[in-house]
Structures are given as C-alpha cells and as structure tokens.
Symmetry: D2
Subunit: 457 residues, 4 copies
C-alpha cells in the first residue's frame, strides 16, 4: 500500500511531514522516510520500522531543513523489505537531486527495467520507484514538468506520486484513480496526502482529490495543473480502501470510510441475519462500525467481546506467517462476562488466509461461546491484486481454494457468510463501474503485462 | 504500578515469562526484564522500553535457560527512570544470586535505607526493591524462607513480590492485599502473575489469589505456604485497579474488571443522566464498557465517535507532560459522520490533570459536536497514592485545586459529573471497608512513615 | 591512495582478502570492504574505519562465501568521506552484479561524468570508481573482457584496478604504471595486491608486477592476459611510494622500499651533513631506515629520541587539520636521557604543511635539545598530485609558499635541508624518466583534463 | 596492571584525565573510565576497550564537569573482563558518592570478601576495588580521611589508589611501594599518575613519588599528608616495570625507564655476547633501547629487521591465546634486505609462554636469516605475580617447565640466553633488597594469604 505525504510552503515542512506520516502509519509499517528541500539542497532521513521508531530522535528534525517536503511509509509490494529499498530515495539527476514518494504498483515494471538495463542503466534498488527515476533521467523535454509528464505516459498501473525537486513538488495520479490522493490547505501551506486523516491531524482543510491523469506542480509561482493524459471514462477506485485499508475517519473517493463500513454492515445484515444470536461482536477495531451497522439492522445487541492489545500492529501487514500465527493470541483477549454461554455473531472485514478467524473462533469457544456465526463485510477474496495490495498468491487465498461451506468447517465456525459483490456495490455511492473489484471478481481494469510481485528480482 | 510474573516447572520458563509480561504491558512501559534459573545458575535480560523492544531478538531466549523464571515490567514510582533501575536486578548474596520482581511501594523505605547505609550498606539503585535485598542479606535465620519471612515483617506498605533463588520461587503479598497477585496452573507449570490476563494468554487455569500476609514457596519439593504475618481484618484492595489499571479481561480481587466497569457506567447513569444527549461515546479503549453501561441505563445510543491510533501507548503512563500534550492529538481522531451536529455524552474513567479532556473536548467541537457532557466513572482524584500509583503531586491534581464547576470551565465542556464515592462502593462486590479509596477520600489505610516518591534520592 | 587485493581459487578467499587488506591498512584508513563471489552470487561487507573495526566480528566471514574475492581500503581522494562511498561497491549490471577495487585517480572524471549524466546515468556515489562501471554498462562488445578493455581505453589517469564478476577477476593497470600492482601465488591461489607486503603476510610468492596497459583475466579456464593499450615508452612510477606511502618491507617497482629509503638517507648525508651534531634521530617509524642511512654515511650516532605512541594512526592520513594538531603531542614522546643537552639531526621523510615538524621541534627543545637540524629525505613538495595522493591544495603546501630558509624559521629549527631532485633520482634504480616527480617538479606526465579533487561535486 | 590518574584544581579536569589515561594506555587496554566531581555532584563515563574508543565522542566531555577527576585504564587481574567491572565505579556511600581508581592486587581479598558477605554486604562486581569500598562503608571513624586510613590498614598487597569524594582526592600507596605512583604539578593543578609520561603529555612538572604508606589528601584547603602505616624498611618495587610495563620515556622508582633498559642490554652483552653475529635487531618497540645497548657493548651493528604493524596493540596484554597466536604474523613483518643471509642477535625483553618468539624465529628464517641468537633482557619468569601483573599460571610459564636449552629447541633458535638475576640487580640503582623479583626468584615480599586471580569468583 504505502502512505504518502507532500507539503509546500511551511517552515516546518519536515516535522509536518512526520506527523502526516504518523497519521498514515496504517498504510505501511516496514519503513518510513522524509525528504525535505529548501529550493537548493535536499535533506533526507529514512529507516526501517514504524514512523515513531525511524524518527525517534528530535535532532533528526533539525537536519530536515527547508520549506517543502515529501514523506513515505513503506509497505513492500515490489522489491524486498530491506533498508536500501526504504524511500523516499534520493537520486542524483545530473546536477541536482530528486526524490519520489510513490503509492501503487506498475504493471509494466519488468519490461521497462529490462529495457533500461540493456541501455546501460544501473539500478540501486529493486523498487518500481527507481524505474520512474531512470525513465525521467533519459527524457529530453526542455522542462522538468514536461519530462515528468512524458515519463508518466510511459508507465502503466496504479500510482499516486509526489516528486520533490529543486523546482518544487510534482503530484500525479494514474488515469483510473486507483489509489486515493487528496489535496488540502492549512493557511498558506499546501498538503497532499494519501488519506484525509493526515490533513485532519495537521488541522488542514480538505479541498479536493487529485484528478486521475492530473499532474499538479506546486512551486514558488503557485500551483499549475495539467492533464498528462486524459482520464479514463470509468475510474477504478480500489474498493478495498473502504473495506480495510483506509482509516475510518478518512474521506476517500468522496465518501467517509466509517460511513461506508456501517453501510456494509447494514447490507450484510439484510443479506444474512441470524435470529438466534444473542449478541453481535466485532474483530476490533477495523470492524467495529461495520458490526454496529450489522447489529442495528439485525436488531441484535452490540457488545465488546474481544479486546485488542494496544501494543501490537495490524495483523494484515506482518510479512511472515509464523509471526502472524503467534500474534493472534497476543493480540486479542476475550471478555468472558460478555461471551459466556452466548450465541455470537462475529463481524470481520475480510478473510485472506483464514488463519486469524480460525484462532479467534477457538478463543471465543474457550470463553464459553455456544455458537459462532461469522459475517464478513466483503465478498470472498479470490484473486491477487496487481495494483498495490500485498495479498498472497492465489494458492494461499482461502476463498480461492475452498467453498464457503468448506471454509466454515476449516475455521470451525457454526455459520459463515460473506457480503455479495452486488451488496457491496449497492452500498457505495458512485456508479459500480467506477470501482476496481478485481480481487473479488478477477476482472482487472488494467491489463497485467508483467508478472509483478516480490519474487521477480 | 508494575506487572510481575513468576513461573515454575516449565522448560521454556523464559519465553513464557516474556508472554506473561507482554500480557501485562499496560502495567508498566518504562522497562522490562526477566531472570531465569536452572537451580544453579541465573540468567538475566533487562532493558528500557516496551516488552517487545527489550525482547526484540529471539536469541535472547536462548540465553534465558532454566525451568523457572520471574519477570517484571517497570513503571517508575520510586527511583529514577533509568537503565540501572530496570529490574529484575540480580544481587550477589554471599555465594549465590537472588532477584526480585516487585509491584507496589514501601512506606518506610527512606528510614530503612538510611539505617542500612549507616551500617555500611552500599546501594546500586534507587529502587525500593534493593532495600528488601539488603534487609535479606543481613538476616541470620537458618533458612532462606525464614530470612524472607523476617524481611517481609520489616517492611511496610503495598507489595506483591516474587523472589527467585537457587532454591525456587518465593511469593508474597502484603497483609492488606493492596495490589493483586494471582496463582494459576498450566498442567504441571505453576504461574503467579499480577493479573489473570497473563494466565489467559498462556492458556493457564486461575486457581486462587495469593492471600494477604502469605509467603508461598515453590520448589522441587512442591508448594509450601506460611503466613509471614496475620492478614488484616479488613483488606485495602486498590479500587483504582478496577477503574483504570487492570485490563478489562482480567479478574481482580475476585471480580471481572470489565463487569465492574460496566457497573460503574450504570451507576453513573443513575446518578447523572442527560436527557438531551443524542449519543454516548467513550474515550477509547479503557472507557468503552463503562460507556456502554452508561448508554444502556440512560437509554441513549452508544456510538464510536473517537478512534484511537493503534500506534501509541496509554496516556496515563507517559512520564512527562510535554509529550502527553502532543500525544492527545496524535492519539485520537474523530468520526465526523457520527459526531456532527450531535449533543454528546463523553464517558471517561478518571481525571488526573485534565489536559487530555480539555483537548478532546476541543477535538469534538471541531468535529461539529453541539454540546459535550463529560461523565467520569470514578470520583475526583484529590490525594496522592503512596501504594504504587504514579499520580502527580497534590498540586497537580486538577480535582484538588478546583471545584467540579471550575473544572468544567477549564476543560471547556458543557457539563461535567463524577461518580460519587458512594456510587463507586455500591457498584463493587466486597464490603466497602475492604477497598482503599485514599486517592478520593484521603483516608490512607497504612500510615505514611516516610515521604515516598521519585524526588527522595 | 587506497590499497587493493584480489584472490582467486581459494576456499577462504574472504578471510584471505581481509588479511591482505590488513597488511595494506597504511594505504587507506577511512574505510574498508570486501566482495566475494562463488561464481554465481556475490557477498559484500564494507564499512567506515580501520580494517579491524570494519571486520570486527568473525560472523562477517561466514557470509563472505565463494572462492574469489576483492578487497579495498579507502583513502578519499575524490568524493566525500562517507559510508556510501566506501567500496568495493556492488553494481547491478543487467542480470548480474559487478564490483571494483580501484587505486588511483582519473583525470577526465568530470567530463565523463557529465556526459554520462546527460545520457540518463544516475549516480549512487561521488567516486570515480562508479564512472568506470557506468562506462562499462553502456559498452556493447560481445564479451565482458572486451567491454572492460573498451572501458579502460575511455578513461585516463592513474589506475590499478581489480574487477570481480561472475566470470572471474579482471585486473588492469594504467599504461604508465603509476600505482603499483603485484601478482603472486600461494599454491593454487592467485593473489593480486597493491604491495608485496600483502603477499608476505599470506605466505605467498611474488611472481611479477602487472604490466602497464595489461588486462589480466583470471577465471576457471586459467589466466589470460591482453594489452588493452600499448604501454608508454617511459613509465611514470610514483616516486612518493618509496618516500612515504609504501610499507618498508614491500617491494615496489622492482625495488625494496626499505633499501630505497636507506639510500635516500645516505644521499641526503652526502648532500648535507652536520659535523657538530651529537646524534641522529628519526621521526618514527617511517624515517627510521632513512635516519640510519644518514647516520652511517655522516658517521654520527643513531639514537631513538622520539617514541611513537602505538595507539595512534599515521599523521598524514587524518582528514582534518585540528585533529592532526592535537595528535602530534599525543603521538610522540621524547626520551630525555637521549636528548638532553645534545645537538640533534632529526630526519623526516617529507614536509607537507610543516605543522608536525614545528611541534616536534618544540618537543625536542623542551626535552633539552640544544640544536635541531632537520633533514628531509625528499625534495620540497610544491605541486598537488592528480594521480591519487591526497596532498593539500598548492596554497597549503608549505614548500610552495616559503623558501627553505623561511620554512626553517617557521618551524623553528636551527637548520633545514631537503634532498635534491637529482639526489633523489640518483638513488633509485630505473632510468629517471620512468618516475613521476610531478609533486616536486610540476612536470605532470599525464595532462590534467578536469579539475580533480574532493571539491568537484 | 592498570594505569591511574587523578587531577585536582583544573576547570577541564575530565579532559585532562582523558589525556592522562591516553598516555598510560599501555597499562591496560580492556576498559577505561573517568569520574569527575564539582565538590557536590559526580559525573562518570566508563566503557570497554581502548581509551580512544571509550571516549570517542566529544560530547562525553561536556558531561564530565567539575574541577577534579580520577581516571583508570583497566587490565583485568582479578574479576572477569566485563562491562560491570570497568572502573572507576561509582558507589553510593550514605548520602554521597565515592569512587576509586586502583592499580595493584590485594592478597587477602577472598577472605575479606567472604567476611563482608557474611555480614550482609552485597557486591556489584568481582573487583578488589569494591572490597575497599565496602570496608570503608563500615568504618566508623569521625572523618573520611581517618576512615580511609583505617581501611588501608585492613588490606594487604600491592596498591596505588586514588579515591575521589565530595571532599577531594585521597591518594595512597602500599607500604612496600610495589606499584609506582607519582605526583606532579601544572601551575595550580595537582596531578597524580602511575607513570610520569602522563605528566609529560600534560606538560606538568614531576615533583616526587607518593611514599610507601602515605595517604595524601588534596582538597580546597590544600594538600595534607599522613602515613597511614609505617613504610617497610625495604621497598619491593616491581622490577618488571622497568623490563616491560612502563613506558620508556617514564621515570619510575627514581630512574628513567629507557636508561634502565639500555643498561639491561649492556649487562646482557657483557654476560653473553656472540662474536659471529652480523647484526643485532630488536623485537620492536619495547626492546629497541635494550638492543641498542646490547649492540654498543657487544660492538655489533644495530639494525631494524622487524617492523611492527602500527595497527595492533601490545602482545602481552591480549587476554586469549588464540588471538595472540594469530597476531604474531599480523604484527611483525621482516625487512629482507637487512636480514637475508645474516647471523642475527634478536633481543627481547622477556619470555612468558614463548609462542611469540617461536613464530618470530620462523619469520626470520623465512627472510633468509642464517642463525638466530635470542637474548632476553630479563631472567626467566618462573613464578606467578600476585601483586598486579597478569602472568599465566605456573604451568603455562615456559621457563617454569623447561630448561633454557629445552626452550631454545622449542622456540627453534640457535642460541638462547637470559640476563641473570644478578645482572639485572646490578643494572638498577637502588639496593637490590628494594625490588620485588618474585616472578624470577619465587621470593614473595608479601605473604599470599588467599588464592588470587581471575578464577576465584
């Protein structure tokens, strides 16, 4: 996924970028970095781990000088998870430096990389971000903006991008608007971020989303926007941003995420209610609102039956399976007074491997729950994402290998129901053709030219 | 506060101790440590920071050999917060080592320390734990158990203690049972912990609490218990364990914490409801159940209006004020769809300085809330705690300096109400004389002989 | 300067490379690194500081797998002294990695770099080593050896190079043989090093020097040598290698360094003896033999009057002036019994800034020396080196700004004499046209096309 | 061994202590530390490794406030070599801190320690330094000076001690003057150090040695000296200080070390010269002067045949045998031009295990030496030292197990001769009864009450 932030015209751009990253920590926990610029020199600090770990010393901010900045929280979808790959990386382009914060995945990465290497390009990392820089280095248009526009035409896939150069910030989004990218202001400071929660934390006002196919340049002369390419008639907004990725207090693709989740819960209750259930509980915290929506519509009591340990990160993002398995027990504890001798609806947002739910089900039974009914507020995830989400391979996706009934048996619950794709699309605001549902339906809005993923290099 | 754990008869005692500390992380975030013993040698690893930071390398566990262990998460109430003071500390007692995990505060610490120093004792730390060791080193009873019993008679105050020696584990609790200490089993493994949530995580069965005045020895010959002193007729269980400190899924002083909190919420609603309120929200997560109890009794809708950032620890425990003030904004974000144009009851567990609530009130207003009614599920904290909680000095306690009405103005809320002491004591199960309510009432169950606190050394 | 080492056909190539670097530590103390290869994968470890600091953990060698290796001790003449610039750097060339250990300086570095950047090259470092890799990446000859040969024709200046690739080692030296590069064997292991002292430490046999203009490829098929360019009729061996840089026990350009230094001392005594002197002492250790030669020829007693502190490195190589000034006092101590009331000839190898000698002179006077006569075993250094030695700028060179008499006054000695250029060239074995004496004479054997030095980027 | 330093009345006492330690680095390379005091608070910095490693950051000195200081370089003779044991350690004595820099070894350490533990003392380290502090803590005399004097009477063995307290510096030396301790001044600053080379580096003037049995107190009221005990009629100055430990430029026990070594060389030549030898070479650097003395008296040419690598420390002090064996080859290289086809006298200061000489002999043969005659400027070391030198056990001492002839065969040299005890004592200045020669003769001047050494705890 990755979360990105860009700020212009702020004497504390570096510190603000830090706070903007902090607000977007949920979008990437493997590394974080900030690059600032004073119009002449660039300053950079990056590291592996959480934002608060990487920026754990206040002296770091003394070095992040300048009135504009970009920042990036990394979540590895391409390239290995190592120190070299943590961005934003500084690249020496002729006589000056340039850096990119990038959220998304290119679909023609491998072929471009091979072509570049044949022509003498030497790569420092295995990230797709570096591809973009190499393309840019070889373009010959007279202005940087035109060179960036030319580069963006060469790449295909999902991308929300903020480039920092001596000239200013250069902000762009792919023609289908797959990943979010919002624009806001705090007095004279311009702020661009993946999610509006970053604007909120900084006390900034949300103005608009960056348009699909737009290239916005922010510099001392002000803001100037061009379309580097005509946007597609239909957008392909990633609907999974609503289901899981985005923070509930963000506004994404024009809608409040929390509100969307509550609607998913309501529609789910309409589709599959359980009369015998005593209470509805959620897998905290991502499914809380959804469970409340489900409880309201199904007229069942909402309770807090699982408590999340504050000292762990989100399950979905841990990179290896063994840790994940350990963490389920460390992460949740049951409230016996609420659960004992009850029949329970457990609402969760999605099933990827099914491991967590199987263990939660056992935890609930151990706490005295009589029956566990699992309700998932999204359709079965059957296909990999090529646009920036780190789903496992098809073979590892539980819903790809098993029917719903088989899965219910595997995870040892009494009933299991998913929200239908129709129900999902009915719950959202835009036309259903404006969302990417490829992970549920297998209908990919952009052709996958190269095999993309961690294993390619 | 501090959380402690002891295990006996387990080949992976060190790893289990780690998990037991992890479950009790909320009781102390400044440092953590484990000491293991194989009956001959002792092995130790301690560090500053969270449990997961201190034990971040799996190789550490290879060195924590032996079949029994003690562990400790530190929250500094006496002594400075520095590396030297992080326990459990190993002390060289004649020809062998000994170590203590200790939760609580002694009230005659300063006078004992001075007496010991006059007699040639040289201290390594400024902790009260070391006092106990020095007393022990000077006792001359023929057996270690008797020397420990003799030592425990010399000290006064609140203490739950686990000592590890070549002979086994030695577990004790003060005569008033101020801090919790529970005993459980997992097959042949004996586990002692501050809270039952540690037993739950390890899959162990809760057996009983360690009795006030009890000294329990666990070794190769089994368990043997003596009363080192007659327990007091009335206990002095710290009622704040229910209000804030303990985890909601723990069972403390014979009751489920979550259930107690729900009762506090219900009693609070009985005492002070607001008819005009649209919704009840909580300061997550510690007040969630309380808010649900309040909502049910006051017949107002419960909603999630504040979302807690998963990447921060609990406010109460940060050691300095400046960080605390920054963290309020980083820690909570508002769900505008829920809050906008509503009149809101905000339920919180307690007010210490009032800073957090003042900022939360502002956050809510910024999100469109019309009126903020704050309801606190405990009485005003007016007096310092001398038995192990790190309240600030009397002068810093908001409720000590201001009336409730003044405070409502200071924190800028429309109404403010506390639970009464009577309401609080009505909600709990035991006789009201069995709880310590000194922080609310100023009635200290144990005489404070020495000025206790961080400033003494 | 830099010291380099290459090994082929040795199961412990990495460890041997380490020892070879250790022997050549005097050639560069800012950083060190080793790259090994097993014919498929490459393994690398580099760091800032001394060889023993960079390779301070025996586990490092477990990772340096493979039967061939290159190593490098860095002494920054181009590029800043920072972690990124420490080699040997690994570069991703299409589908495989390549790395270079390089000793010397290119004279057309800036113009090549600019041309490459214009064509889209993105640089990771500010070293001239990376220039070579970028040239190589863009060549299209059918074999790697031919591409390397083509690249070497494009670069000008002083270079002794060892390239490691999946195919083997590729060893080359510039057409004038400016820097040394020797070739030896230890049983079946082939060893290439800057100085023979590395061969000696490894117990290897010296075979021959790599020829000027030679490109030697060592791989599974054996050794194959080509001339990538016709060597110049006259060589330009750096005569400063004898004076200061090389280790006295090395054989360089066909002669034993220690023997050369003794000859310089003898010639110096022939040119400028002092009858009134009681003893001859040296600035230890680099001038010891020289002083003994001087003492023998001038028939004056050789004594040890200055003792070097073992815990400091060589003055010449510290990168900043302030440290250098402190270090003179920390580095030398005087033996009063030897010096008191004596008239002393102090023999040193060269004067760069003159700071050290000024302070040594004072130290000697403080120890009771009546008169200090300084004799320098090389001519005045008046011109910068563009071929790999880090002399300061012309303005900082003492001999460039002052006459010998002025200098004697500045450094506060009674008399000061240098060896003449004629004396110097008379003492060496080859024809005088086969040495570079540019730093003394200003006659540069290779035209300086670009301004070279640390300040260029 | 250990090197110690104390300074009084200097605004930069911490920095000066650092320089004083640096000058005495050869006396202990395992750790270093400094404690400063401003008359109220104490400041401390200690660490493992060389002085320059421990004090590698200039910020350290900002924290070492105060106008007086003590420093210590550690060389473990008792206690393990670990971080806890690195001094000077700060001890909390009642209401203030105290610290000791100590050079020497107590002979009744074990019995005192046991007695203290029986009386409740808890030890933090396994050093004999801590014993002294515990004794001090239990004394009841009315003034600190008297308590120190009382403590010093309780301990037996070799000790040169500098104590720092809020009251000033307290300096003492055992009644036999086994280890050196000198006193000097730099303007108003008082300096006490193990060796005069520390005074020299600081530019201070040597005044006198601290007397055996003297306790000198330096504070705001000036200097006041008492005899805590009557000095022994005969001193027991460690003669090995001349042979190996002290720096050649130091003045120790009233004599210049370099001069003593030259005398040892001369006496050695008188006792055992070799007519057929072509040259005399030394094992650099500790035997240089000695070899020059030998060469002069035997009328043989002195040459530099072995060159020491500057990047290694002194052999004798490395704590384990395996490293020592590797280091011989890394440490010395041969000058073939000097050695080839020659018959050589190799002068060394002592033989402990014989390993180094055996390897050096091989190195010389490899360089073409025809015959190697080893001459040792001290008698055979046959007995362990109980007063502060880390000789190995009797069983590991080469001269204890073998006759001189056997040893010559083992180390593979053509002839081997030692200086006789008579020759040694003839060369020094004081009466022969004023030196301790126990390591040669087995006649220990102080009875060894307890087994002393690293293995005891």
């Amino acid at each position: 996924m990755c979360g990105i932030i860009g700020l212009y015209n702020n004497p504390e751009a570096g510190t603000f970028a830090y706070m903007g990253l902090y607000a977007q920590q949920h979008r990437g926990q493997e590394g974080a970095g900030i690059v600032t610029c004073d119009g002449d020199k660039m300053y950079s600090h990056t590291g592996q781990g959480l934002v608060s770990d990487v920026f754990s010393d206040s002296k770091i901010f003394d070095n992040l000088k300048g009135h504009y900045a970009i920042g990036h929280t990394r979540y590895s979808t391409t390239g290995e998870n190592n120190a070299t790959n943590v961005g934003p990386l500084l690249f020496n382009l002729g006589d000056s430096f340039i850096s990119i914060a990038h959220n998304g995945n290119l679909v023609n990465l491998t072929s471009i990389r091979k072509k570049l290497q044949k022509n003498g390009a030497i790569f420092q990392t295995t990230t797709d971000t570096e591809i973009i820089i190499h393309l840019l280095a070889r373009r010959t248009e007279p202005t940087l903006t035109k060179r960036i526009a030319g580069t963006l035409k060469e790449i295909e896939g999902a991308f929300s991008i903020i480039i920092i150069s001596k000239e200013g910030l250069h902000i762009a989004r792919d023609t289908k608007g797959i990943r979010p990218l919002c624009f806001g202001k705090l007095n004279d400071t311009i702020i661009v971020a993946s999610e509006t929660c970053a604007l909120d934390l900084l006390g900034a006002q949300y103005i608009r989303d960056i348009n699909p196919g737009e290239l916005l340049t922010v510099n001392n002369f002000g803001e100037s926007s061009i379309q580097f390419e005509t946007p597609d008639k239909n957008k392909s907004h990633c609907i999974f941003e609503y289901i899981y990725f985005s923070r509930p207090d963000s506004q994404v693709f024009g809608e409040n995420v929390d509100k969307m989740r509550r609607k998913f819960g309501k529609t789910l209750a309409e589709e599959s209610t359980i009369d015998s259930a005593d209470i509805v509980i959620s897998v905290p915290d991502s499914s809380n609102t959804c469970a409340m929506g489900y409880a309201a519509t199904s007229n069942t009591k909402y309770e807090i039956g699982l408590i999340r340990n504050h000292y762990v990160g989100r399950t979905f993002i841990f990179p290896n399976q063994r840790l994940r398995s350990l963490n389920v027990r460390l992460k949740f504890n049951t409230v016996k007074g609420v659960l004992d001798n009850r029949e329970v609806v457990l609402v969760d947002d999605s099933i990827v491997r099914g491991t967590t739910l199987r263990k939660l089900s056992q935890l609930l039974k151990d706490a005295g729950v009589k029956k566990v009914h699992v309700r998932i507020s999204s359709p079965p995830v059957r296909y990999p994402c090529h646009y920036g989400m780190d789903f496992p391979t098809k073979d590892e996706l539980a819903a790809n290998k098993h029917t719903v009934n088989e899965l219910a048996e595997i995870i040892k619950v009494d009933t299991l129901n998913y929200l239908t794709i129709e129900g999902l699309l009915k719950s959202v605001s835009l036309n259903k053709d404006d969302y990417c549902t490829a992970c549920f339906s297998g209908e990919y809005p952009i052709e996958i030219k190269d095999k993309v993923g961690k294993e390619i290099f």
